[in-house]
Amino acid sequence: MELAPPRGRREPELLPPTTVVRAGSPRRRPRGLAVPALAAGAALLWLLGLHPVLPTELGSLGLIAALSPATLLAYPVLLAAVVLELLRRPFRPRVLAAMTALGVVMVYGLQPASEQTARITVSWLHTGFAGYIADNGQALQGFDARFSWPGFFSLIAFLTKAAGQPDASGLLQWAPMILAGLAVLGMRALAVTVLGDGRAAWLATWVFLLSEWTEQDYFSPQATTYILMLATLALTARYLVRPGLAVPLPFRGRSPRPPPMPRSLPRERLAVQGLIVLFALALAVSHQLTSLLLFGLLLVLALTRRLWSDWLPWLVLVPALVWFALGAKDFWWGQLHLVIGGLGKVGSSVDEGFTDRFVGDAGRTAILVVRVGLTIAVGTLAAAGWWTRRRRGLRAAPLPLLAIAPLVLVVLQSYGGEVFVRCYLFALPFAAILVASWLDSVLGTRPAPGAVRAGPASVRTGPRLTRARVVTVGVILTLLGVGTVVARGGNDAYTSFSRTDVAAVAEAYRLARPGQTISGISTDALPLGFSRIGVDPQSALAVRCPSYFADPRACVLQEVPDYFLVTPSEDNYGRIYYGLPAGWTTALAGDLVHDGKYRVVFDENGSKLLTRVPGGP
C-alpha cells in the first residue's frame, strides 16, 4: 500500500534535529536485537495465553474477563517495543512494519483466534445475501435495503462460485483481521503522505490501529468500502493535493497566494483521477454512506483550496446519486422518510446514537463508558495535536476540518442509532494524524511534521527527551490499545457464537420446508440468515414482539414460529439487557416442550432447535 514518491517530487525538506537526545544517544539506545526480542516475547505471551472461549463463559464485560493474564500482558510489552524502536536513531522501518503486522493480529485477530466461529449476526446475514446472488444471479427485490447496494455481495458471490465453494461462511471468521489490516495499510499510506516517512507517520498508524474500536471491520460492505475510501484519500493527498495536507498555504501579504501545483506528473494526476473514478463507481453500488462521506471530505479539500481538481468531489458524488436514483429505487420507493426524515433532527440522532444505548447491567454500562472514554480521549488528544501544530506556526486548516467534518452526519440522520459510531470511524484517520503530531511533539527533538521550509516553526527544537515523556507516550498507547480490546470484545457474550449454535441453525435450514418460519429471540444473538434467503421467513421475535422479555413464552405462542432456536448467546442477551435470570432460555424451551406445543429436534451444548408440534397452537 505504501506508495513510491512520485517522480519529480521531493520529500519534505525537514530540517535535521538540532538537539542531542540523551535517551536516543548511542549509549542508551536499545541494542539491535532487544526490540525484536521484546516484540517476539509479546507474540509468545499472546499465543501462550490464548485459549478457546465459548459464549457460555462470558458475562456482560465480554471477552476481556475471559482473557488470560499472559495475553493481557502481551499488549503493553508489544507497545513498549514499538516506543523503544521509535526512539532509535534511525529507527528500522522493517522492524516497525513487522510489529505493526503483529499488532494487527493481536488486536483484530484476538476474537477469531479465541472464539469457535465468526461473530456478529449481520456478517452471517451478508453471507446469505451473497449466496442468494450466487444462486439466482440477481439481488432479491423488496427484501432488504442492503440489496439496493449489491456491489459487495455480488463480488463475494462471484468469488465463492469461482472458488467452487457452497457459500462464503469460510471467509467470515478472519475477515475482521484481514479487513482491519488493510485499513491499517491504508492509514499508513495516508499518514506517510501527510506527515512524511518519519516517526509521526508510524505513530499515526499505531494510534489508528489501537483506537479503532467500532468493529466495522466484520464481513460487510462498510468494511470494504472503508478501505477504498482510505485508498482514495491517500491517492488524493499524494498526487492531487497542493502543497500538502499538513502544510500551511504560503501567504503573500495578508492573503494566501494561489497554491502551488502538486509535485506529481500530469500523467500521474490523470491516472489517479481515473482510478478514483473507478473507486467511486465501486463505492456507489456497494455502500450508501461511504460515497457521501468521501464526497464531504473531498469537498473540505476543495473549499480549503487544496485540491488540484476542483471537480473531484463531484466525480465521487454523481455516480452515487445516479445509482441511488436508478439502482436503489427499491430502497427509496415507499421509505423515502428514512432518507430525508431525519434531516436536521440532531436531538433524535443524539437520543438514538447515544442516550438510548445506555441500557443493560453494570458490565454493559462499563463497556459503553470505555467506548465513550476512548472517543473522548482520541478527540482530546487530536485537539492537543492541532494546538501543538498551531503553536509551531503550522496552521493548516484541512486536517482539523477533515477530522470534524464527519460530525455533519449527526445533522443528516441517526443512521439507525449508529451515527456516532460512523462519525468516529470516518473521523479517525485524520484524528489519528493529529494525535500522532502531539505524541511526536511529546517525544520531541525533531522538526514538526509539515515543516517544509526553514523558519520559526521548523527551527524550534523539541523539549529534551526525558524518561517521563517516553513513559507518557507508552502509557497512552497502552491505554488506547487495551481500551480498544475491551471495547471490541464488550458484546461478545451475545454477539459471539459456538459451532453448535451454527449447527442448530443449519439443522433448521435442513428441516424447514419453503415458507416455514425460523425464529429466535433476538436479532443480535443468533447466526441467522446465512442460507435460504427469500425461501423461509427468518426473523427474531424481538422485532414483532418488543416486550418479549416480560413474558417470552406468551410471545412465542403468539408468533408460533415453525422452528424456534434457543442458544446460550440469547440467554446472555436477556441477562445483560433485561436482567433475566441465567438459564431463562432453557426454562422457556422446557415450558414450550412441557406444554406440548413444541418438541426438541436438536440439542447440543445448550444450543437447541425446537419445532412446532402439528396440531399444537
Partner: protein, 72 residues
C-alpha cells in the same frame, strides 16, 4: 412515460458529465503552467466549468423529479 424520459435524461446527463470531466482534466493539464503561475482559468476551462455546473444542476433536478414522480 415521464419516468422513462427522466431515466433516459439522467443517463444522458451522466454521460455528458463524464465526457466533460474527461475533457476538463486534459485541458487543465495542458494549461497547467498558466493556471499555476497566475491562478486564472483560461477561457476554455471557464466554459467547461460553467457547462459542468449546468449539467450537474440539471442532473440533480432530474433525480429529484424522478423520485418525487415515482413516490407520488
Amino acid at each position: 412515460m415521464t419516468e422513462m424520459f427522466l431515466v433516459i435524461l439522467i443517463l444522458a446527463l451522466t454521460g455528458a458529465f463524464a465526457v466533460l470531466m474527461t475533457v476538463r482534466a486534459v485541458v487543465v493539464e495542458r494549461g497547467r503552467a498558466t493556471l499555476a503561475a497566475r491562478g486564472v482559468r483560461p477561457p476554455l476551462l471557464r466554459r467547461l466549468d460553467w457547462t459542468g455546473v449546468t449539467v450537474t444542476l440539471v442532473l440533480f433536478a432530474a433525480v429529484v423529479v424522478l423520485i418525487v414522480t415515482t413516490v407520488s
